[in-house]
């Protein structure tokens, strides 16, 4: 009974996420596209929540729905939210051909390793005993320490790069232009 209700909720949220992502690419107005993307991210956070990953759900909302998408809306507001006009180009048929290829790859990935479920060392009981944030922290700072630090250095370099690009005028022909 409860399990059925749980599965129903999972499926409904998953379908909502897919519909929202269709909304992102099908909407003519960039504001509505951005709003659909926010909806999609909230759905993903809810899925994390349903799979007992409270910490990741909260971080998903803070980082993606809260910070990244606000900047998207900010840019849309700055550049003016004009509706797109429909134009035909060669990209469309290419995209339509690309989608089944991606789905095929997804199906192959699902069927290739069906016997071995992708389970980590953290079971539901273990997470409940050590706490959600602690579980993520222990994984991140022990087994995945080097990738984590590399990613943080990459982000720092990107930040410094953005400031350099924005702050100092570009040199054209060896001369500083204002």
């Amino acid at each position: 009974m409860f399990d059925l209700a749980y599965q129903t909720i999972v499926v409904v949220i998953g379908i909502t996420a897919i519909l929202a992502s269709f909304g992102v690419i099908l909407c003519a107005s960039p504001i509505y596209s951005a709003l659909y993307l926010i909806g999609n991210m909230i759905c993903l956070a809810l899925l994390f929540l349903l799979y007992n990953a409270e910490f990741i759900a909260a971080v998903q909302i803070i980082v993606y729905a809260g910070a990244v998408m606000i900047l998207f809306l900010f840019i849309i507001a700055l550049l003016g939210a004009k509706k797109e006009e429909k134009t035909s180009s060669w990209e469309k048929p290419a995209a339509f051909a690309f989608v089944p290829v991606l789905f095929g790859e997804l199906l192959m990935a699902l069927t290739a390793d069906a016997g071995r479920p992708a389970l980590g060392q953290f079971t539901e009981e273990l997470i409940a005993s050590v706490g959600n944030a602690q579980a993520v922290g222990m994984e991140l700072f022990s087994r995945h320490l080097i990738p984590f630090e590399l990613a943080s250095i990459l982000l720092l370099a990107a930040t410094v790069g953005v400031i350099c690009l924005a702050k100092f005028p570009a040199k054209i022909g060896g001369r500083r232009t204002k």
Binding site: A58, I62, G66, A67, I70, L73, A133
Partner: protein, 343 residues
């Protein structure tokens, strides 16, 4: 028939208790808004050596209700150039996020009622602090959308200013709260309060307290940081085009956010419902809630005091202050807190 009903009730007791608590808190928050408006107008009157509203009812207490009736019966104007859906969505987002944010905040010690242990909070979330930040950061959308949907240059400017300001000060808010997390070692708000049973965090983390409160004032768009609605330059910013109840909803959101921010400061720094030296005066069940409410009330008065004392600061100074003063101080505080924790 009766059996199935009682069976259903006892099976879903957790859900029912949660729903009742959610309803009580939502109603209490919404009905405290007019009282807070009354308090603000009365106190502002005293601060500015005038009387404030004192004609309607005793001490002018019926004034906010008269105002509410007026706002409800006002004509709702939606200008033709506005995006109708977003125009209606924006105030709803502001009020919704403001109420939901409060659901994670514990405002009293848990007690037993009819054999059930009841904690005075809607949800005791494992990552409660992050939940509060997550939902309150969604509240910015209401203001940005109001600016975008109104199709008005002043509104757009107000919305943009507001989002830039809230993003900037959110960082300081989060980093200041991290200092508290380092001290108490938990993201759970109930555990953070219980950790302060002997010494409140304001003594251990005085700099974090000042940073958090200042950033909190900026987050709630209150004076002296009320740039989005600067009357002289922006003719009231993002809510220029709003009338009637939709206009009032923005203020409801702002006042509820004030209460939530005061409650967060109380939970994180002032020791929540711990009364310290006055513990012997506190009655058992209702007492902790009164202690908590008294601390929140004190902080709300400070909010009003700030508004009537400081002039609004200039926009570039606001940004400079946020990024070049508050943020480095918050990082410094974090490093010092981490250093002492390792020690």
């Amino acid at each position: 028939m009766i059996d199935t009903v009682t069976q259903f009730l006892s099976d879903n007791l957790v859900l029912i208790v949660g729903a009742v608590k959610a309803a009580i808190i939502a109603v209490a928050l919404l009905s405290s808004v007019p009282l807070l408006v009354w308090l603000e107008r009365r106190l502002m009157g005293r601060f500015q050596v005038r009387l404030g509203p004192n004609r309607v009812g005793p001490f002018g207490l019926a004034q906010p209700f008269a105002d509410a009736v007026k706002l409800l019966f006002k004509e709702s104007i939606v200008q033709g150039s506005a995006d109708k859906f977003l125009f209606f969505l924006a105030p709803a987002v502001v009020v919704f996020t403001a109420i939901v944010t409060f659901s994670a905040i514990p405002f009293g010690a848990s007690f037993t009622l009819f054999g059930q242990e009841i904690g005075p909070h809607v949800a005791n979330i494992n990552v409660g602090l992050l939940f509060v930040f997550a939902i309150s950061s969604m509240g910015i959308y209401g203001i940005v959308l109001a600016g975008l949907a109104s199709n008005n240059k002043y509104s757009l400017m107000g919305g943009l200013r507001s989002s830039a300001q809230m993003i900037s000060y959110e960082l300081t808010l989060g980093l200041a709260a991290l200092g508290v997390i380092i001290v108490s070692g938990s993201l759970n708000l109930v555990e953070i309060v219980e950790d302060q049973a002997v010494v409140p965090n304001i003594i251990l983390q005085p700099l974090a307290f000042i940073l958090f409160f200042t950033a909190g004032v900026a987050e709630t768009n209150r004076a002296p940081f009320d740039l989005p609605e600067a009357e002289q330059e922006l003719v009231a910013g993002f809510h220029t085009e709003y009338t009637g109840m939709k206009f009032a909803m923005f203020f409801m959101g702002e006042y509820i956010n004030m209460i939530t921010m005061s409650a967060m400061v109380t939970v994180l720094f002032l020791g929540g419902w711990n009364a310290y030296f006055f513990e012997f005066l506190v009655p058992p069940v209702i007492g902790p809630i009164i202690v908590f409410a008294a601390k929140v009330f004190l902080l709300l008065c400070v909010f009003i005091w700030l508004r009537s004392t400081f002039p609004r600061i200039r926009y570039d100074r606001l940004m400079t202050f946020g990024w070049k003063v508050m943020l480095p101080l918050a990082v410094l505080n974090l490093m010092v807190a981490g250093f002492f924790k390792v020690l």
